[in-house]
Amino acid sequence: MKVAITARGNDPKAEADPRFGRCQYFVIADVEKGTFEAIANANQNAGGGAGVAAAQALVNAGVEVVLTGNVGPNALRVLQEAGIKVYSTAAPTVQAALQQWQAGGVSPLSRATVGSHFGMGRGGNKW
């Protein structure tokens, strides 16, 4: 099973990124094999549609679970349509997020936690 974590770096020790569509990397863990790979988010600075593009990239990568901070409505629709489970986490790193998910400590997201364009800096960048 592949689990994608939104991150500011490209390895398991990287800081987790609470933004979905505008994170820097998706670190993808293969839970059975215990391996990691990273996809750079090509649409991090897109004028619009970053969430949809990010969701599409994860669908194409065969991801089944997403761990992130906030997700907008369009991206969530794509992820849900593909049957991908989305969980909210505030864990500080990729590894910590994964461990939290494995321990059952993350909460499933069934509706968007932020509006469109949230990750463009009017809130997502604050901290």
Partner: protein
């Protein structure tokens, strides 16, 4: 001739210049006013046109035939605006992000996508005395102004003077309005904001290769930096309107300067002569 009235900064007096120029010339030549500020058109408040016809503006957005779609994802790859995604073997569309380019339809090997017109605004046409008046108005919640602006510009008659009241700023909607005009008037005010945004607007019209000049509104307020900038850059300042509380009151009542203060009519007629002269000079330079 097509003359755009634009500005970097909002609230400098684009509409004031456009409607007064239109009124000052309407007795002498055919004048058409195109209100291209489709997010908040206001020229009608001053010219009080009687609207005779109204047409919806539509954008061709994709519609999916699920029986034909095999979920290959080519449409999603083709879309530069991420208005389509393919998940769970089917296409999801986000019409509010679609720019109507048709790339998805061309990319679909199954012929599963078709164009569906989606309403994004309206173009209204009417008359205000001798002035032919056209206004575009975008629907609430629609983020895409340029197609509505292009629909307004399609109504141009191409005789006499066509005046385009552009939106403020320097982004896509302004470019859509100013593009292909013969001349651009940049209206500014002598304030730091006015100067900053004038510089941006000058950069835009230079990029578009359109001859332009400046009008300074409320010219007796602020400082001299706008004039100094124009002199330094060799930009002609064609008209200065001093700040006057009575002019502001006229505007607030929805009236026009040339109607309540007819002594301003020759100034606007002179503005038009200067525009004609600069357009002819530009054509001469371009011709050589």
């Amino acid at each position: 001739m097509h003359v755009a009235v634009a500005s970097g900064k909002g609230g400098t007096g684009k509409t004031t210049i456009a409607v007064n120029l239109a009124l000052a010339l309407a007795e002498k030549i055919p004048v058409q006013v195109l209100d291209c500020d489709v997010e908040e058109p206001n020229a009608h408040l001053f010219l009080q046109p009687v609207f005779q016809q109204e047409e919806p503006v539509t954008l061709p957005v994709p519609e999916v035939d699920n029986a034909r779609c095999d979920g290959c994802g080519r449409c999603s790859e083709a879309c530069a605006f991420h208005a389509l995604a393919v998940a769970g073997g089917r296409v999801i569309t986000f019409p509010e992000m679609c720019h109507g380019c048709g790339a998805c339809i061309a990319a679909c090997p199954q012929g599963a996508l078709a164009e569906k017109p989606q309403r994004i605004g309206v173009v209204a046409r009417g008359r205000a005395g001798r002035i032919d008046f056209v206004q575009g108005k975008i629907d609430v919640g629609v983020p895409l102004a340029p197609p509505v602006i292009r629909a307004v510009k399609k109504q141009a008659r191409g005789e006499g003077l066509t005046l385009l009241d552009a939106p403020p700023g320097t982004s896509c909607p302004v470019v859509a309005a100013v593009k292909d005009c013969n001349f651009c008037l940049l209206v500014t005010e002598p304030t730091p904001f006015g100067l900053n945004d004038l510089r941006l607007a000058v950069g835009m019209v230079r990029e578009l290769g359109i001859p332009f000049a400046v009008v300074i509104n409320r010219s007796t307020l602020g400082d001299l930096r706008v004039e100094r900038y124009c002199r330094h850059e060799g930009i002609p300042v064609l008209l200065k309107i001093p700040f006057n509380k009575k002019y502001a009151a006229t505007y607030a009542r929805g009236k026009c300067l040339v109607q309540e203060y007819p002594e301003w009519a020759p100034a606007f007629a002179g503005l038009w002569r200067e525009i004609e002269r600069l357009v002819a000079r530009h054509a001469g330079i371009a011709g050589n």
